[in-house]
């Protein structure tokens, strides 16, 4: 880490380190449960307990059977496939529609703004169980219950409020003069959008898209009602059989997903750095 600027006072130096310790503790809090999940996914008994054998590092206390179950069980395979397909399309739909709407909502002369905003974020406000029941009835009537399209539409509806909120928040600080400058230089509205607006609101769009994806990926109530067995997602599979037992396979699934996402995010980050290096961009 770069050394602290020389003009800081003693108390500021202390605060500098204290602050980082506080943040460190918070990050630890965030991943603390993962620290528990990973070893438990190797548990030999189907319980969420650190058995004596495990604590003594006795190999008999450890087993790969939950991973085996995950990879051989057709139900899980279908669930993973469905989760990603549904999540991807739902996110695509909600991000596109949500970003467009957010742009419209931050225009100064939009009529009935508060009313429109309330309706557009209503999927987030209505209690999920009511949304699930309502959508179940309605989609059944129009033949969408038990179809992939039905679940995708439902999840897209649930995801758009996140995109709308995060993108409008990012647009608050947006300087409209930039648009006027681009127009004065001859850019068409689409060019302005992609070259000027988009790069600046990208953090908001991405964080909204992320929320939308996670909402779909982690969602269980709506998919239980609107979907049927063919649309079973990872959460569906996790809650399945919970009358009898909570299978530790869910811990194996969680560990695999975590490793997968670490790998994914690392490679995205490495690619980003590489592209910046190639383009000669200095780190800020």
């Amino acid at each position: 880490m770069a050394s602290l600027p020389p003009y800081l006072s003693a108390s500021e130096r202390v605060w500098h380190y204290v602050f980082r310790i506080i943040c460190g503790l918070t990050f630890f809090f965030l991943i603390f449960p993962l620290v528990v999940v990973v070893p438990l996914s190797f548990n030999a008994v189907p319980f969420f307990t650190f058995t004596k054998e495990m604590l003594a590092f006795d190999p008999a206390g450890y087993s790969l059977k939950w991973y085996e179950d995950f990879f051989t069980n057709l139900n899980w395979q279908g669930a993973v496939r469905n989760s990603f397909i549904i999540g991807f399309f739902a996110t695509l739909l909600s991000t596109t529609l949500g970003t467009l709407a957010a742009l419209g909502l931050s225009r100064p002369n939009l009529p009935a703004k508060t009313l429109l905003m309330s309706i557009l974020i209503s999927p987030m406000i209505v209690p999920l169980i009511i949304s699930a029941a309502g959508m179940f009835f309605f989609y059944s009537r129009i033949g969408l219950q038990g179809t992939h399209i039905g679940v995708i539409l439902a999840h897209a509806a649930l995801g758009t409020p996140f995109v709308v909120i995060t993108v409008t928040a990012t647009l608050v600080g947006f300087d409209n003069n930039l648009i006027r400058a681009a127009a004065s230089l001859g850019a068409s509205p689409t060019t302005t959008f992609f070259k000027v607006i988009m790069p600046l609101i990208l953090p908001g769009v991405i964080s909204g898209a992320l929320f939308a994806f996670i909402t779909s990926f982690d969602e269980v109530v709506v998919v239980l009602f609107v979907g049927s067995f063919k649309q079973r997602t990872i959460p569906w599979q996790m809650f399945s059989g919970i009358r009898e037992h909570i299978s530790p396979t869910i811990l194996a699934v969680a560990t695999i997903l975590v490793l997968f996402s670490i790998a994914l995010l690392f490679s995205v980050e490495l690619l980003r750095r590489r592209s910046e290096r190639l383009r000669g961009i200095q780190q800020t």
Partner: protein, 422 residues
């Protein structure tokens, strides 16, 4: 483009139209464009969400079931006046008999019995047993025969109840949702002490959601700030830390917290190992409010961090440096310059966390014990188990109303669109 004005009062644009007209035209076009941007999402949400939910919420007042299943009796009961203290006439009993026979055949009798049972326990067994017995009643006088089949028909309250709930729309569910009851006499009373749940649950849900919003803010603001001021390559790595918990599903995170917080759990064992806690007095950190707060703070923290981070990233670092160079103490610079710029992010994050927290029920059900459960849990129970969809919908409407009011308040006070400097 306005012409420079000389002496005349009216301004004209280059093509000769009055400036006002031209301006109005441009404004209209801009409004239209803004609406067009919003339209696709609006139509989408309207069809896939508003219509279905409206349908569901409508069930909170819908009450056609009684008149549909007991058509003849409800029609005649409209003319009956209970204030005379007498049972309805023989004609009404005859109509009821026909209705009961028919609904027993169509298997709709238990539905109407159940619906009335929500208002007065005992109705469902009345209808069920009557359904079985009315087959044998063939000859008048029907009044005595029906009362003999079941005493309930001889009680004026039964008839008052049916009459009261004959109309197609009812407010009964809403009263039940706030622990009240409208007696057949018309009076509105609070339900007995030992049956009051909903108001207390609403209050508890709001209170805990508020606490969770505050804790996520307190924990989330520092790390969002750290990520915003650090170079991108480090902050992106830290972002991975924030996003990791998202990949572990809700059920996994909740059970992990159970493993950590329970009496024989990891944290307690650790505390005993370092001697901070006696094995007899292990703190109860789960199956209570504390468990709900901790688990939900953990689950909702990323929802606070990400909007804050994306807003903070757009705040130029030069602002604070400028303030300090002008002589402000770093703390003052932070509070006066940096913090106000983060308010949109705080607002977005707080709204997200609060609203999501209110609607949660799976986590509070698993870790909340009896003191940490939320109102949505009751809604889920009514939709899935007791099948009292009217009450579930009424509770949902109230919850929705409360949240909408809070959202509007937040909009008034903080505003999602006017946090510029000065």
């Amino acid at each position: 483009m306005a012409n420079t004005v000389q002496q005349s009062e009216e301004l004209f644009t280059a093509d000769g139209t009055p400036l006002q007209v031209s301006l109005a035209r441009v404004h209209r076009r801009q409004k239209l464009r803004a609406l067009l941007l919003v339209a696709p999402l609006f139509i989408f949400i309207f069809i896939t969400f508003v219509l279905p939910i409206g349908d569901m919420l409508f069930r909170s007042v819908e009450n056609a079931i009684v008149a549909n299943i007991l058509p003849r009796s409800t029609k005649l009961l409209a003319n009956w006046d209970p204030s005379f203290g007498e049972l309805p006439s023989e004609k009404v009993f005859a109509a009821l008999l026909k209705d009961l026979k028919e609904s027993h055949k169509n298997r709709t009798i238990t539905r109407v019995g159940q619906r009335l049972n929500y208002e007065s326990p005992g109705m469902s067994s009345l209808f069920r047993s009557s359904g079985r017995k009315v087959k044998r009643i063939k000859e008048p006088p029907y009044t005595e025969a029906l009362i003999k089949a079941n005493k309930g028909w001889g009680q004026i309250e039964t008839w008052m109840l049916i009459k009261h709930f004959s109309p197609a729309y009812t407010d009964g569910y809403f009263f039940a949702a706030v622990d009240a009851k409208r007696l057949v006499s018309g009076e509105i009373i609070r339900v007995e002490e030992n049956q009051r749940i909903y108001l207390a649950l609403f209050v508890r849900t709001l209170r805990l959601s508020f606490i969770i919003t505050v804790t996520t803010l307190l924990l989330g603001f520092p790390i969002a700030y750290l990520m915003a001021i650090l170079p991108t390559k480090i902050s992106n790595l830290l972002l991975i830390f924030v996003l990791l918990p998202f990949w572990t599903s809700l059920l996994v995170r909740t059970t992990a917290w159970i493993v950590l917080l329970q009496q024989q759990g990891v944290i307690n064992e650790f505390l005993i190992m370092v001697g901070m806690v006696n094995t007899e007095n292990r703190p109860e950190m789960i199956h209570n409010e504390f468990g709900t707060i901790v688990a939900m703070t953990h689950i909702l923290l990323p929802f606070m961090v990400l909007p804050l981070f994306s807003v903070m990233k757009t705040i130029p670092k030069s602002y604070v440096r400028a303030a300090v160079s002008l002589g402000a103490h770093p703390w003052l610079a932070f509070w006066k310059i940096y913090f106000p710029n983060t308010v949109p992010g705080i607002g977005a994050g707080a709204i997200l966390v609060f609203i999501i927290a209110i609607g949660y029920y799976i986590t509070p059900e698993l870790v909340g014990g009896t003191t940490g459960t939320f109102i949505s849990n009751r809604i889920a129970y009514h939709i899935s188990s007791s099948l009292n969809w009217g009450l579930g919908a009424a509770l949902g409407v109230i919850l929705l109303g409360v949240v909408t009011v809070l959202y509007l308040l937040y909009d008034k006070i903080v505003g999602i669109d006017n946090m510029k400097l000065s």
